[in-house]
């Protein structure tokens, strides 16, 4: 299968008694984004570290851009860029020094390493901070420098391990734009995330992993069909109108409205077309709200739905259920 840039089969890895990966398959076609979605401790980082040749799997095989991570790690390293969960830049070096160093380690002549550094700093909006030590950078700037560092050698395969964790929403959107540009240039990206919203915004396909196992693999559309697409949440200013609100929402969405215990009601909806309808009905009923939002299910909801809808019996092996 030459059209796969990332191809992993049956990866397992244990740290002492802890089973980090219990047989994970991953596949990403060239020029696409594979989103690996899972909570903390699901094994996402371990999988990335194995694919990036930083760790050896206990068993299973993995190929990156056609090269085996176990037997041809040198070839793999020539083709990958890695942006870790914790920014892997040198805090005592300036932005420029960081990028020039990487360039020189990738055998760029000094002049070209400097030119490439300047180009990337410009692209990531870090030109002004180029001469400052990375320790003085904000979290968002550090992430951008980190991502820039993994792009110095124009790698065809890029691993982004939770690239937006800890960033505020505006910075997250900026990062998303950058990632979209990367794919536009033909790179293959493996992105791990804890947010369905992020996987939905960026990924062509999503693998959901939990407790070291892949429990679902689908397109964002397919996954959302399973987990029920968007949620609409509303919170009435006047708590007395809570029951009226529940009645109105029952009329627009599918399933039963769920309260969160703090006066908000959430219901599954089919798409954002319902929003004007909801607004009209609320106005007609004279209910004022201080929150009205459409959002994708949270990771908790995804897992809850995936395990509920696909298994009637919790004791069964999730892998059987999702194959």
């Amino acid at each position: 299968m030459t059209d796969l840039a990332i191809e992993a089969t049956g990866l397992t890895k244990s740290f002492g008694d802890t089973r980090a990966l219990a047989g994970v398959d991953l596949a990403a076609r060239k020029g696409t984004v594979l989103g690996v979605l899972g909570p903390n401790g699901a094994g996402k980082t371990t999988a990335v570290r194995i694919l990036a040749t930083l760790l050896r799997a206990d068993s299973g095989t993995a190929r990156v851009d056609g090269f085996d991570v176990r037997t041809q790690p040198g070839e793999v390293r020539k083709r990958i860029g890695l942006t870790g969960q914790f920014a892997s830049v040198d805090e005592d070096l300036t932005g420029t020094q960081n990028l020039v160093m990487i360039g020189q380690l990738l055998d760029l002549p000094a002049k070209r390493a400097k030119a490439r550094a300047a180009e990337l700093l410009e692209w990531f909006d870090l030109t002004e901070a180029a001469g400052k030590m990375a320790r003085t950078y904000s979290g968002g700037m550090r992430r951008r420098l980190d991502l820039a560092a993994s792009l110095v050698g124009r790698p065809p395969v890029i691993f982004l391990d939770e690239p937006t964790t800890g960033l505020d929403p505006a910075k997250r959107e900026d990062m998303w734009d950058v990632i979209r540009n990367l794919v536009g240039d033909g790179s293959t990206v493996l992105l791990t995330t804890q947010y369905l919203e992020e996987a939905d915004a960026l990924a062509d396909e999503i693998t959901v992993i939990d407790h070291g196992r892949a429990i679902a693999h689908d397109s964002p559309h397919g996954l959302k069909r399973v987990v029920g697409g968007q949620r609409l949440t509303a919170h009435p200013i006047d708590p007395v109108r809570y029951d009226d609100l529940v009645t109105i929402l029952s009329g627009v969405g599918g399933g039963t409205p769920e309260g969160n215990g703090r006066g908000s009601v959430t219901i599954q909806v089919d798409g954002d077309e319902v929003l004007p309808d909801v607004v009209a009905r609320l106005r007609a009923a004279g209910i004022t709200v201080d929150e009205l939002s459409l959002h994708l299910p949270s990771l908790d909801e995804v897992f809850f739905t995936l395990t509920r809808t696909r298994s009637g019996d919790d004791s069964r092996d999730p892998e059987e259920l999702f194959s």
Partner: protein
């Protein structure tokens, strides 16, 4: 094996370590003030008693010893820094790059060259202020410094190994001091060894620090130049052969 490329990569990372050193100038205290302090202490506290009243004679004897002792002490911070550095994200980046695995370690050791050079300059320079004079010629003085630095760069790998082995920088210091103190006191650094008991003399004879110090003394003060330098280089080779692979293995296990 692409040796040229590896050397170039190691120099790039040595530059990184140098930048980090310069950014934290307090890292130069052990290579500047420490030899000065030891020279003053030993010459003026013990010198008179040890050399029958002639502090100048003792200074001549002591200075090559202090050079050897400071080099051993100086290596401690290399292991400490590496120990703290190695768990940082930037080492993940190094591991994901198409460079030899040993390059980050070699780079760190090469950067220490600058500190060892400072040790030599400070020790000999301050010795001159106190009245130390070589009795050979400047060429042999440079040769003495070269031998000392060669030994330092080899001994550094012990510290690198310990740095990859233990969990915290504090533990690196603890272990290295346990090693460095017997080596520097169970040697010919501070006194003539003829009054030591036989078993200790046996240790002093094989102690690598004794050989370096003897070689440096011979080169600075005029002695039979040859066998001690030979022994020193033999120890350099032995340290490299044993501790370079051990350090590399420790580093790879740490991933």
């Amino acid at each position: 094996m692409n040796i040229k490329g590896n050397i170039r990569h190691a120099l790039v990372l040595a530059r990184r370590n140098l930048i980090k050193l310069v950014r934290t100038p307090e890292q130069f205290i052990d290579v500047t003030l420490q030899p000065v302090l030891f020279l003053l202490l030993f010459v003026y506290v013990f010198g008179g008693a040890l050399a029958h009243g002639s502090q100048h004679d003792y200074l001549e004897f002591l200075l090559p010893g202090i050079l050897g002792q400071t080099i051993a002490m100086t290596s401690i911070s290399l292991g400490q820094n590496l120990n703290a550095d190695i768990d940082k994200g930037v080492f993940d980046r190094f591991r994901s790059l198409p460079i030899a695995r040993s390059v980050p370690l070699v780079g760190a050791v090469l950067a220490e060259f600058s500190r060892y050079l400072i040790v030599c300059v400070c020790t000999v320079g301050f010795g001159y202020v106190l009245g130390f004079r070589i009795t050979t010629d400047p060429g042999l003085l440079l040769a003495a410094i070269a031998v000392a630095i060669c030994f330092a760069l080899s001994f550094a790998w012990v510290s690198v190994f310990v740095g990859t082995l233990v969990r915290s920088p504090g533990a690196v210091q603890g272990l290295m001091i346990l090693l460095v103190f017997p080596l520097s006191f169970g040697s010919n650094v501070f006194v003539n060894t003829s009054t030591m008991p036989g078993w200790l003399q046996a240790f002093v004879k094989v102690n690598p620090l004794s050989h370096v110090v003897s070689a440096v003394r011979d080169l600075m003060l005029g002695g039979p130049v040859g066998s001690q330098i030979g022994w020193t280089f033999a120890w350099c080779a032995a340290l490299l052969v044993v501790f370079f692979p051990l350090a590399l293995r420790g580093y790879l296990r740490r991933a």
